[in-house]
Symmetry: D3
Subunit: 240 residues, 6 copies
């Protein structure tokens, strides 16, 4: 099967890191393609960046349908444009935020989300509510560093995040979700450090898309995700 | 004071209808300017249209700051790009969905939302949750007509909507919210027909922006609506 | 238009302070009349005081209808007798607790309530639930001083309240609501001190009643607020 | 032990019916005294009646403390002035709405409330929320007859109520609560007719007050129900 | 009347302590019989122990029906097998967790649960949700001692529990629930120490079963608690 | 990898059907072993059956650990003994109810559960709450046939279920969950008939266990799922 992973920001370093993670865990037979939109924000730190990035995501989904991918992943933890993508697409689309949470539910009673910056609390809260999973979240732990700067001093970022994770564990966290695609690849290192399962949404999403493909499940077009009327004239390929 | 009302879709007829409503209820001394984005969907029927329209809304907010408006209104009931606009702007931004609900709370224990198409149920539900007002909503009543077609046969649309409103009233609706900017101007006619308060979000939003201006309140920049880092270089005017 | 503001307690100092605030923000053309009931508690510190005060509020509403006011405000943050007043009245009635919260929703994602005494936590919680706005409240911060004593040492009270507000801000408060009519007038001073919007419910309520008047909205008599049967014989004027 | 049951309305017929029910189920050794306030509404149909009745309830509680009762019952299903009474009293106070629901929880997964008039839906909903028991309520079934008129044609009222109860049972009701003191005494007749447990709040409250007395439990004065400051000067007897 | 109290664990010391408590508060005329299952865990510390203990509880309920008891009590705070017991039994079954919470609701706005070990947080949370009473719980305070070891150093356990109770009181606890049958008998001592009502579930359950017996209420067989099909052939006595 | 699927009831026909489904969707390299407990109920229709079946589930989990399985599935939709199994096991355990819901969340905004008998409504509701997914469920549609009898007249059962599914779709269902292991294998037939995704929990669980294995995730032992103290002496193999 072929999965297209869309990194909604335009940081090539992040796109490459996502590709490395996805390929490490994809099954033999799963081809991974990663892209970022041609234009858009370098990092997604707030609602404004999300608006800008969403347009790019939609373009990549539409291109991807013509390229006949079997599934899509939106690789930003707040799952920008996920619902719109599900309307447009006739094959599964999974967000890494959603995927992290769903997988966490099978191995922990309560999880905590580790992310940045502090101002994204409302956005993270909405992600939980949109997915209906507030009661499964022990806490949202945020460090006050912009996403675009986490790479500047990765050692310091790591230290700050581990500190928050330990605080989360004192208050009921039984699994940790890496709440930003920019943290991809840190899961096993954190798991070792913390002693509790740590989930990288890129992996969770790749595995879920493989699941859906194996089972032959596609997004329901019954109500919420009907194909947009404004798209019908676009004559997108419908290889359903 | 000067209010810029952004109709997120590109239907000139709708923009004109919004302008007429707003001017009818604006106070002497309130100047109303209405715009739609240069490009974007003709109507907002789904999440995909919302993504496209949101970019245009952001452009108009940014232009509006340079034009030194005292407040903004986003004239689409699901309040697209409202949070992003609040980040960018240093003067109040109000959405017509939000405004309708807040005003309804002062005159009714429970309100119902009247809108279209049926597939927008999830989006309307999210609007309620985002605003924390699920418990105040008796029902969401949707007719299965695309927003872009409500004008084609306005008599039929009116009849279908009134039917839904009467059903809502049997199940606890004490006020009706016109859940689409395309219905602007029907409030008093519906109120007369139904015998219960009917709210046009355009009016509600104009009155609320006037309130905020009179009181000298501006969007809190403390956390959720901090000015986006990616915008700081844009050197937007800050006439705070 | 003419607004009657009912201070449910019998403290003349508070009634005068409320009048001063209301007049400062009322539009030209809005006449403000403030009253307190003939008898009742000097301050509302608990449910018992609320019961006593509620009778006085009802009397003032009934008198106010004969005096042909265009709207009423109940100037106590827990909104005593608000629902009963809406049943009796045929023009809008707004409570300052409700008004503060609704206005706050347009400028902040989460607000905190600043009030007293500590034993009023349950009552404040109920105010939130009755309005359906628990999810918009970051915290209720209470100092353990009886309402009747806040004037005894206003400097100390101010200091204690500012301390609580700063704690609230560390935990997500983006706007502060002054949770007691006895604090009227402190809004702009606190706003300056704290750096985030601070809302005085008296102002919020005056502006909302003006809104409702401009828009021609009245309390829905469809269900919850039907005119009480036991009142129908009283032959109250119905200038609807 | 001695229990004072306060019928918050002034209908002597209702007070007598309450007394008959209470005495039928009180244990040997439990003395029942029933009263209604000197003045107040003949029936409690809405929030306005509740305000008026509440003052009378408080007077009777205060008198009852001097008469050294061991417990109080407020015999109106929406539990008017219950919280204020708990502040004032140093012995247990139980409302019949609350008591019905708590007892129902031990014998049924979900109960339904049977009451009148239709406009009391909001008030019943609040009763559930105040007690935290929304999730245990299958439905609130209301007939549109004012409380004051249920005795006019009791046969018709009974028929209407039984019809609603049967509808409730089709939608998950496993026990029926008689949602009005005016229905006292109909429990066993309804139980026989419907085949499911039917609860008369007067009985439930008498049995709960006996429980609390046997166990030596009194209302917590730790926070919510502290003795009102405004009462402390009244020198009520404190036979704690 | 005759009540059978089932201690789901096999600790004879606990069964004896439960018997002593129950007899101290039972009315003259109430006969108390206490048992533990023949086999099962010595203490219930987790879900695994609960599964094992539940089978024993069911056996004792079935025996108890043949012994013609008038009511049953399950004396473990998480109420293991309570729902299954209600299906099987034709007389009331009450759990001590449920009973503690329901009784607490009549004397306090918010209660806290005091128990052990720390890993039982999820189980306690479920108890609250199953009963619909999350909003009445101020906090769950757990010490990290296994139930089986609380007797080893009772003085230390007491000290740890009192410390947690004081912390709970600082955060809104107005009554304390002893969250484990192994703590039976400590209620009045804790109440004296803490100054707020402290509830022993064994007492609460005995008093509630007496209530239900006096009122002639039995578990509803309408839906959730229908007699299991797989039991119908067992020809259990049905002395309904 | 090797997965042990435990059918908690003792119906060989059901166990065989589960095996057939699991093998159809398992990946090459996944070995499926299916068992039922030696004794227990023939079908799980109620809480009583669940208690009996749970003991058998625990025995099979413990045996399975000695047999060195890489993951377990509990194949009954209400997920009996799932939490206890997670305590005992050191490899992933997934329930088919949980798995169905989590997978459904990736392809539909709202799902409906199709099951039987009517009395299991409370149990299904608890399943949703325990998983935190009430807001994702459009409806629980139950037919009043005991689980043990669905095979007696499969055509009739199918017809009744399809009727309920169509009703669910009129009220917002976008995917259908087969809410009973006894319905395994009907998914694709129903999907074709209904036109919306239909999920068989056995498939969903197999795919999720494969995911967890691929990713190397194990149940968190941090808090809720700590290894039971009462088991530690049993010297179960710990091939972690």
């Amino acid at each position: 099967m072929r999965i297209k992973i869309i990194n909604p920001n335009t940081s090539k370093a992040t796109t490459d890191a996502i590709a490395a993670t996805a390929r490490r865990y994809a099954r033999a037979g799963t081809e991974i393609v990663t892209v970022s939109p041609i234009s858009g924000p370098l990092a997604i730190d707030n609602y404004y960046d999300e608006v800008t990035a969403s347009v790019g995501v939609m373009e990549e989904i539409k291109k991807g349908l013509q390229e006949k991918f079997d599934g899509f992943i939106i690789a930003c933890f707040t799952d920008p444009a996920l619902r719109a993508s599900r309307e447009v697409s006739n094959v599964p689309v999974v967000g890494i935020g959603e995927a992290s949470m769903l997988i966490a539910c099978t191995i922990a009673h309560k999880f905590s989300i580790l992310s940045m910056p502090k101002s994204s609390a409302a956005s993270m809260q909405e992600l939980l509510i949109r997915n209906g999973l507030e009661s499964r979240c022990a806490s949202i732990r945020l460090i006050d560093v912009p996403v675009s700067e986490i790479g500047n001093n990765l050692n310091e970022t790591r230290k700050l995040l581990l500190h928050e994770a330990l605080e989360a564990m004192k208050n009921g966290a039984e699994a940790i979700l890496l709440g930003c695609a920019g943290l991809t690849g840190l899961d096993k290192e954190f798991e070792k450090e913390l002693g509790i399962p740590t989930i990288d949404g890129v992996v969770a999403a790749v595995k879920l898309v493989e699941c859906l493909y194996d089972y032959g499940l596609r997004t329901s077009k019954a109500l919420t995700y009907r194909i947009p009327k404004s798209l019908q004239s676009d004559q997108l390929p419908r290889h359903v």
